[in-house]
Symmetry: C2
Subunit: 393 residues, 2 copies
């Protein structure tokens, strides 16, 4: 296979394009994970992650995929047979619920059509009806990567509070963290689950649990078997900048650098950048006369946009031609959207001209794949981007 | 803190010195983990690891520390309340047994003084006495990193066979894999547990399970709750070069390069190199008039050497002065050996002159820390190294 020319456009909704600064940081020699130099690294990562999650409580870092941090959130707070409430908002909500069942929990899985986020009224009804407080935790995916749909975490918190329900609120922020506004403490989240390969601009291999005091208290009574994921030893070691077992040192080098970059830009600016690039993407989709998969504009994701193709068109053919001709990876449809939806990732280390290239690749790909569409998506996006710039100038 | 001059000597028994070739490979941009380019990477890593474990069966790669692969070995093959037989050969054998207990297994933990490996006769006695075959698995740490002691895995296999005992043989080869002779298939191991940061010359963050058909069969009946570590989805995805959740792509780049390097050198040569550098190290220790912690020469490790200090001497003072003055990290005593033993790691990307520097650092450190010893350790090691070279020339 000939090496494709130019930079690859990695426009799946994560892993995202890793900045050179982060790659170069990861490239440093591994050090003794029990030495003083490591403790400095550990402390700066653990402390820096608190700002990203917007929490004053501890954040834990696991050497694992985000999937591992899902498991950590469950096994540290729950006991066999506990009931959890989850919502079918997409592929990842479905997988997390399946994991809960696999681990011996009873899952009350509220069905959905994958085109909307969690309905806070439905959550409220479920919680109010649970008078004996059998539901021990509510699972919410903040940004459903598979559908480009954001759920209103604060509203689910209010539903819990209004029902005076003691259930824990566990939230997957894997594809929203450091890309979309997320507030662990303010929203009263008990465990937030994060991953390294999305807004944090790192390769995959690190995952996160941000916790609340209530979650820590629940972990004392939790009976699900655990060892690797157990918070107790993790927190005890973290206090001194260390880890209970060998941490993924080189990825932590990368995390330290990524945290520096996020701090330099400012989290609020990071969110605004993503909001703006997402809106430009949606304007392109509408100009193409294609349908944004998300049904409710209030729930649009700023991390990725899922696009519905006309009946009979193949998303895999589109992605194949875009990869072959233009050296760009787009996200596939997953689960219930397989075959009919493709996804544009616009999160992480991403800017106007990268988006222009991305949309150009999609527009040309639509033509090559014979998918009925209007041209003019890029133009619509650029008009918006340039208009925005003058407005803010 | 002033940046210490020159290269750091990372002479803990892992993480080991990562070759520049591997660091540069890790430094490449992250790619789509569902694309064809990734499948090639995945396949070459999965296939290459078979040769390292010396197995024709599948090897699985987890994004985690080695500790995670311990957990994977247990939760995939065993059920709550199952009995396992383990041997107190050192810190890591103790931690693995503790993990088994934490996960709900009943552990028959044969006590030991940490100065010897598994006694095959003791294993045989335990297994013969277990007439009802209540013991479902035997846990052995091939190379106890905490003590520099090798256990005879093949002899434990024979003990199982002679007793006609159906228990599974689970072996931790984290600090021996790709450093010391290890034979998954020939020794009849059912699950071998490996990690990336030792003989494989990678940063930490990848772990491995090599399996047998019997282990796969056992996994069908295993009842311990599992999700992240479950083999079933892992094997199904691996068949096409993929993973059930996002893999640690950049560390896999490193693994592909490390496998290339091991192949270039040849595994037999890798083992011989380690054997030789280990013997040179022991000669230095004897010349210093210090005691090798391992009681039985047949069990000497080729990965690391633990050295006992005279009564009243502090290993932490020695390690501190060596780090401060000579920019070298040595291994601490762990658990029962804390305070009295230090460890020299001589595995991974390591050669004669690196060993000379390492031993020079230890010899000068012994002097600076006021630890009674004779000089001449380096000289003894070099005499051996140069003699060996002429012998093989």
């Amino acid at each position: 296979m000939r090496h494709p020319t130019g930079r690859h456009f990695l426009q799946i909704p994560g892993p995202t394009n890793v900045p050179d600064r982060v790659l170069r940081a990861i490239d440093n020699p591994t050090i003794d994970h029990r030495g003083a130099g490591f403790a400095e690294l550990g402390k700066s990562c653990l402390e820096g992650m608190k700002a990203v999650f917007r929490t004053g409580n501890p954040v834990m870092i696991f050497p694992s995929s985000g999937t591992g941090a899902w498991e950590a959130a469950l096994v540290n707070t729950l006991s066999p047979g506990d009931r959890v409430l989850a919502f079918e908002t997409g592929q990842f909500a479905t997988l997390w619920a399946k994991m809960a069942a696999d681990l011996g929990l009873r899952v009350d899985f509220v069905p959905g059509d994958w085109r909307r986020g969690v309905d806070p009224a439905e959550a409220a009804a479920k919680l109010s009806a649970d008078r004996n407080h059998e539901i021990k935790a509510v699972l919410v995916v903040h940004n459903e990567t598979s559908t480009g749909i954001r759920s209103d975490v604060a509203a689910v918190r209010r539903a819990l509070d209004n029902a005076e329900h003691p259930g824990l609120l566990l939230v997957d922020t894997i594809s929203s963290l450091a890309a979309m506004d997320y507030r662990h403490d303010e929203w009263g989240v008990d465990v937030s689950v994060g991953g390294s390969q999305k807004g944090l601009m790192l390769p995959p291999g690190l995952s996160f649990n941000a916790v609340s005091s209530k979650a820590i208290a629940a972990s004392k009574d939790s009976k699900l078997p655990k060892s690797y994921w157990r918070w107790e030893e993790m927190l005890a070691n973290n206090a001194r900048g260390f880890f209970p077992y060998t941490p993924a040192t080189n990825l932590l080098y990368g995390l330290r650098e990524a945290l520096k970059m996020l701090q330099e830009e400012g989290l609020e600016n990071v969110f605004r950048r993503h909001d703006r690039l997402a809106e430009a993407t949606r304007r392109a989709v509408r100009a193409w006369n294609l349908e944004i998969w998300a049904a409710n504009p209030a729930e649009y994701s700023s991390s990725d946009t899922a696009v519905l193709l006309p009946d009979g068109c193949s998303e895999s053919a589109l992605r194949a031609v875009v990869l072959e001709r233009f050296n760009m990876s787009l996200g596939a449809g997953l689960g219930k959207t397989a075959g009919k939806v493709f996804r544009i990732g616009h999160l992480g280390d991403f800017n106007d001209l990268m988006l222009a290239g991305t949309l150009a690749g999609v527009e040309m790909g639509l033509g090559l794949a014979g998918i009925p569409h209007r041209k003019g998506g890029i133009a619509a996006a650029l008009d918006y981007l340039i208009g925005q710039e003058s407005e803010t100038a």
